[in-house]
């Protein structure tokens, strides 16, 4: 009754906030798909509550947040809080985009698992997720 060996990691790519560019988000989504993951992309202009709802319903292992608007210090902690409030503290929450080095520690303190600075090679992101995504295997029903 073990989880099928091939069961893919499920990832939500969220694009919180008001900036209208999702090229980066799409590039990441494609790289993760090509690495064998199931990637759910919900589009632009998502509120934190929308992202939390999608993450819960889709039961993703990983939430990847791409943010360019500069509003990361308010939006990202709100998303983490929502996901934890829904009982999904097991989810890996990673962020990327244009997050200045000074803001990284506050985000980690707020519960973001990892922040990828601008220019992080895609391969590093893929590898990090592959290594750190929680496994649902242990779940007993």
């Amino acid at each position: 009754m073990s989880r099928a060996e091939r069961a893919p990691i499920r990832v939500l790519i969220g694009k919180p906030g008001l900036d209208g560019h999702d090229r980066g988000a799409r590039v990441i989504a494609r790289a993760l798909r090509d690495a064998g993951m199931e990637v759910i992309y919900t589009g632009l202009f998502q509120t934190p509550a929308m992202i939390v709802r999608a993450a819960v319903d889709e039961d993703v292992d990983v939430v990847g947040l791409s943010i360019l608007s500069g509003a990361h210090l308010t939006l990202l902690p709100e998303i983490v809080e929502g996901i934890v409030a829904e009982g999904r503290e097991d989810a890996l929450i990673v962020a990327g985009g244009t997050i200045p080095p000074d803001d990284v520690q506050p985000l980690l303190d707020a519960g973001v698992t990892r922040v990828f600075g601008p220019g992080t090679p895609l391969a590093d992101i893929v590898e990090y997720i592959r290594e750190h995504a929680p496994s649902r295997t242990a779940e007993s029903v």
Binding site: P8, E38, G43, V56, D59, A85, G87, R136
Partner: protein
């Protein structure tokens, strides 16, 4: 959200996170034996509407509009939206939710994206279990969006009470429809994007096509829709409701489709494994060399299948 409650208790209490986790469990464990999830009863009250059609035809957009129609009727609505897994990597881009953002805050809507995980036919192995879970969770109606690669996606017809086939103007060739064999499975034909040029012509073509292909299809409704607004799908919703009211899919038919599905996927899994073994390799080599033939080899292979 107490840690002490079991998944089952949370599911029975109507917690959406628990439903979400049950769906994952069904997807990840082809063999549910010995779990309460395997014992969820077959779909009874819940109605099921299938939506199929070519990529970009507006399936997700149409599902999004229909969800809103059924919410206005006070129904709790589920969506199972399928997309293809890459044969090579197993990964998948699940993008149907992009078109379904309007209802995000509605507790009466539950949308789930699924990859077909290598299954042909437009759905995945998880469809039956997921429908049972939706039914047990108390949803009134579920919309299924098939993979939509435009090839023989006919599984949905043996699962849904009503199957809707989308066509769009300017996509060419209605003859392809006959070849693909999807026309026969549709209970309703929809010309979506009827705001675009060529829609009237396509409507006429389809109406004459259904009569030509098979006289018994002559009564298949052919409806125009513009899925980008709720109003644009009201005539379609009316046709769906008419069919739902009079022709529920025979529960026996769904049961047969379900058991067929499970048997075939188990056989396929075992066959894959057998052919990868050394003896399988040798067998194939002997067929290739003419020492035996595939017809005879099948007996040996079937004999090698193990009880699941």
């Amino acid at each position: 959200m107490s840690e002490r409650l079991s998944l089952r208790e949370r599911f029975e209490a109507g917690e959406r996170g628990a439903l979400a986790r049950v769906l994952s469990y069904i997807e990840d464990h082809p063999d549910l034996r010995g779990t309460w999830i395997a014992d969820l009863p077959p779909v009874s009250a819940m109605q099921i509407v299938g939506v199929t059609g070519p990529p970009g035809g507006g399936k997700s957009t149409l599902v999004n509009a229909l969800v809103q129609v059924y919410r206005r009727q006070g129904k709790r609505v589920g969506v199972l939206a399928f997309d293809p897994s890459s044969r090579r990597t197993g990964g998948a881009a699940l993008g149907d939710r992009i078109r379904m953002n309007e209802t995000w805050s509605d507790d009466g809507v539950f949308i789930r994206s699924l990859a077909n995980r290598g299954r042909l036919g437009g759905l995945s192995d998880a469809v039956f279990g997921s429908l049972r879970a939706f039914n047990a969770f108390g949803l009134d109606l579920t919309l299924i969006e098939t993979v939509g690669v435009g090839q023989g996606e006919i599984d949905v017809a043996s699962v849904a009470d009503v199957t809707v086939l989308i066509q769009v103007p300017g996509a060419g060739d209605t003859v392809q429809l006959i070849k693909a064999g999807v026309l026969e499975i549709a209970n309703i034909l929809v010309v979506n994007k009827s705001d675009l040029p060529g829609a009237g012509e396509l409507l006429r073509d389809l109406r004459s096509l259904v009569t030509q292909v098979d006289p018994s299809l002559a009564h298949t409704p052919v409806v125009a829709a513009t899925a980008t607004s709720v109003e644009g799908v009201l005539p379609l919703a009316e046709e769906i409701d008419k069919l739902l009211a009079c022709s529920q899919l025979d529960a026996r038919m769904r049961a047969e489709a379900e058991v067929r599905h499970y048997v075939l996927s188990e056989v396929e899994r075992q066959l894959d494994a057998l052919l990868r073994e050394e003896s399988g390799d040798e067998l194939v080599a002997r067929i290739e060399a003419g020492a035996t033939n595939a017809w005879q080899a099948r007996v040996q292979l079937i004999g090698s299948l193990r009880p699941a």
